[in-house]
Assembly symmetry: C2
Homo-oligomer: 336 residues x 2
């Protein structure tokens, strides 16, 4: 596809001007005269010139490597996303290299640097819980490497994003709990700097409000790992303040809660309902099996890679887009 | 450490001969006179010159990247190994990039090529189930990139290896089952081309022999995934031929068996014992929790990275070594 594409060089040659003049004309640079700008832009339009080809022509050669920067590969969701990415990438002749940040901002920064210096053709990112500074992502932009975010996206970087509708998914899950008769609902919430956490929390609150249930701050607990889920339940039991439903920000946290609740011989779901988020393997094999939200990690990875490869190949050149992957409520045995 | 090391250049300068002459003299090249060889080798010895420095001086620059080629990151064992590797690597200022082969030989070959062309400083490998041709590993040797295997090692490549004593671990696990009263023992075995599968199978057989129990070919079933574990149990139940113990080559297979057995209301461990191998998170949270062999993935990764970094830094220059990581039998509720 690329070889047939019009490049900035073709335009320069056709008009008998320099490549850098064409480049600046296309960017509406103030140094270039209106007359030249018009000529360049008209020809670009007539030849069906696609702006992405700039980045491509500036880069010396392709490595056919896609880089992924991901928080934790042990999580079923993330490894499903990677499988989806690899399916598309390998099919198109790309290799995939993965950098695990282990939720460390510092590792994320050095992973991005590693991928840039390895001259990957494109970068796929899901941010750490700690990331509040985005300069390393701007380095990717400056290196003209196409980049795309999935799940944990960066609000300050204008690029393609593939996500689920976390607000809607959380709202539906919580509304199901309410309709099944739960009245004292608790949310085990993710870290505040992640958009996904904020949206799931908002979905939780809005579902309570819609059904005239009080939003109790005591029942919004920051807690997003297996261990923390166990500990939070232990505290609630000690305080004799166990809710009748827990909506956890992810399956692992729900599972920690489940294990601790079972240990105290409290009946699931008769005395307390538990709802996770992810639908990882673990939710199918827990006892009782966990009700959860299917997040479709594989589809998310598949779509993410498709968009990235289209950007790399210069086949899409429109504004950045945000794609939503559908979710689905999965009802098993931890809810009524 | 490296800056203080004697290089091939120092020897060349000292003797007033070319670097390539020194290099060839050290390799006992036939073009070099015995006299020159003796001079070079004596000086090399006197200056405590370490051969690994050759590779380092020949390479233009360090990338400070370690590459890992691994079958499946979703497995708790492999992700634990990666965590151990990363702990050491990050501490020493290295970045880590991971290539997942998904048990495909083809992907393994292209992953190795990707890492070589990314000019990584060292490569850590655990082979796919399919790998029977080792030419891609020889490419690593030819590129002078230090390489080390863990768990699924390559018998034909002379390099460092970090493993567990699979034979002994399997023998002990099976002997425990026998001593607990099991008489009809079945092994869910891994693929034959992997050394670890062969050794675990041999440990199984030898434990039976030691205790005068028959080795029944019907009870050695090739089956090494969650799905295959379920299917194998279904078949055994249909044939009314369920054993009184299953020793599975890994936890996921054991778990597939466990889930299927529970579905048929057969009591674990009263009617059938189940023993896994790995001690992944999943074995702790299954119901009943799984007896298994702790494989110490984290320690394995830690040790692997330590050895590799020592090779990269030229701090070890002796023969290749094989390091054994200790295992431990973990008894939970699926055994008597």
């Amino acid at each position: 596809m690329r070889s047939a594409q019009i490049t900035i060089k073709d335009i320069a040659k056709e008009l008998g001007i320099s490549v850098s003049t064409v480049s600046r004309a296309l960017k509406d640079h103030p140094d270039i005269s209106t007359d030249t700008k018009n000529k360049v832009q008209e020809l670009a339009k007539r030849l069906n010139y696609k702006p992405n080809a700039i980045a491509l022509s500036l880069r010396k050669s392709k490595t056919n490597i896609i880089g992924i920067v991901i928080p934790q590969i042990v999580h079923h969701f993330f490894s499903s996303v990677i499988s989806g990415i690899e399916e598309v990438a390998f099919d198109k002749g790309y290799n995939v290299i993965i950098c695990q940040t282990n939720e460390s901002f510092e590792r994320e920064v050095s992973s991005v640097q590693t991928l840039i210096s390895s001259r990957v053709d494109g970068i796929i990112i899901s941010m750490t819980k700690e990331t509040n500074d985005f300069e390393h992502f701007r380095n990717i932009e400056r290196s003209n490497i196409p980049m795309i975010f999935f799940d944990r996206t960066c609000p300050d970087i204008e690029t393609d994003k593939v996500i689920v509708d976390d607000y809607k998914a959380a709202f539906e899950a919580v509304e199901y709990l309410i309709k099944s008769g739960c009245k004292r609902l608790c949310h085990f919430a993710g870290p505040e700097n992640l958009t996904i956490s904020k949206k799931r929390l908002l979905g939780f609150k809005d579902a309570l409000k819609k059904h005239n249930l009080p939003v109790n701050d005591e029942y919004i607990i920051k807690c997003d790992t297996f261990k923390k889920g166990k500990k939070a339940v232990r505290k609630l039991i000690e305080a004799k303040n166990l809710p009748d439903a827990i909506f956890a920000v992810n399956d692992m946290t729900a599972l920690g809660a489940l294990i601790e609740i079972k240990k105290h011989n409290i009946k699931i779901p008769q005395e307390i309902s538990i709802m996770g988020f992810t639908n990882g393997l673990i939710s199918k094999i827990s006892d009782p099996p966990l009700s959860t939200v299917e997040q479709n990690g594989y589809e998310m990875g598949y779509k993410t890679a498709q968009i990235l490869l289209e950007r790399i190949d210069g086949n899409i050149h429109d504004e950045t887009k945000t794609v939503f992957i559908p979710t689905k409520l999965i009802l098993r045995k931890t809810t009524l």
